[in-house]
Point group: C2
Chain length 246, copies 2
């Protein structure tokens, strides 16, 4: 489908609001995605208020599109409503565990992706913000998320004010296996990453960051081990505070 | 988009294969989804061999569409290839932690949902199988998944041999919040679940299972607390065996 193959993340938006009716339709398209047992263990908080966006922007490490895009959607794994319903029906809910955190996270992600596809089908642009997981604790406070609710990703949505090129992907064989997983040997890894490493944008990235190669830009600059471990520990605390037995 | 609003899970398939070229295109559409840092921390194992499907069917609790559908896709969170690349570039990968398990799980889910949307755009039907997480350990063995690779969901794909009705969803207000999360009071929960509980299919479900209400069908029959805790502990072991520090 042309729409999927033409997806780009949009980081510059027009100063043009999204009509509420359209926003509702987009979210409703999200709810049509498959989900575990039709339990709908997800939710979304829509931020349109400029003051609220300004409050959330630092939690997204001040990525400029948070303030610029008309809508910020914080997508959550959510067992709160289902738990409350069970509580009112003498039903013993047992979903505050690893298995259901994962189920709810997957279902919230399918919900998010349908939202993005629907938005793009109306000429809107989107960009995911992975920062929701890094600062889950602070988003919980700012958005008043009750126990059982954890932000897992965020998406900005608005009318695009740029037309960036497609981003490259690894050859299909890097992610697709027939019948069993064909693990990679050293030579195959070299082949699969050759094109990515040879791009002008990759070389510029390496030079700007004064690293030896592209992999080191990821491990030494963008997503460092010590940061990953810090934010993992913080996330685990937050998940426990939200009631998950992990 | 009509396609998203018409999605149903398909559980009966025609005996008709999916051409390899089309299958590749569907997976490629998956790779066009957004992903964290364009690191592509996901993979898919495509099972088309009837013998292999028969081997996997019991791990999916013998859901009949595993054998019947021409293709079974096992979708994985996957840090293996990226780790190998880093290892060959003197780059110190630090992704075997909770934060990146979640990032990879979300990215694998967006990949999966794009695969499903693309498949449906070609007249194919799909059904997610949540069982991948329950028996992750056994799928790892059967599909020879190396360390760093964890199956998070599975999807059967094929030409539909049924046209089931749309499944109901809760009112949009059950999952959508404006600016801050408006937690539910008792009366609101009653309202939000009223229609779902009043459906003939729900009443039949309750009667067949000899329960007092629909919530108890979930908690006492479909997804019991003791089972959830058993499979959570098993999943945690499996994640650790695959190299994640949890």
């Amino acid at each position: 489908m042309e729409l999927l193959f033409q997806h780009r993340s949009i980081r510059q938006y027009k100063d043009e609001p999204i009509p509420k009716k359209l926003l509702n339709q987009i979210i409703e398209a999200g709810t049509r995605a498959s989900n575990t047992g039709n339990m709908q263990l997800y939710s979304v908080v829509a931020t349109r208020d400029a003051v609220k966006k300004a409050q959330l922007a630092p939690l997204h490490f001040n990525q400029p599109m948070v303030n610029q895009a008309p809508v910020l959607l914080t997508i959550c794994a959510d067992i709160n409503l289902f738990n409350q319903w069970c509580g009112q029906r003498q039903a013993d809910a047992g979903y505050n565990n690893l298995l259901w955190l994962m189920n709810a996270t997957i279902d919230a992600s399918l919900f998010a992706q349908n939202i993005c596809v629907e938005a793009e089908s109306h000429g809107l642009g989107i960009c995911y913000l992975g920062t929701a997981l890094y600062n889950a604790k602070e988003f919980i406070e700012a958005l008043e998320l009750p126990k059982g609710v954890v932000p897992i990703t965020a998406v900005v949505v608005g009318y695009p004010d740029q037309n960036p090129p497609l981003t490259e992907r690894l050859p299909l064989e890097a992610v697709m296996h027939d019948e069993t997983y064909a693990d990679f040997n050293k030579e195959r890894v070299e082949q699969l990453f050759a094109e990515k490493e040879s791009l002008a944008s990759s070389k510029q990235f390496v030079a700007e960051n004064q690293k030896e190669n592209l992999a080191q830009v990821f491990t030494d600059v963008r997503y460092k081990k010590q940061d990953n471990e810090f934010f993992s520990a913080k996330l685990l605390d937050t998940l426990r505070e939200q009631g998950f037995n992990l």
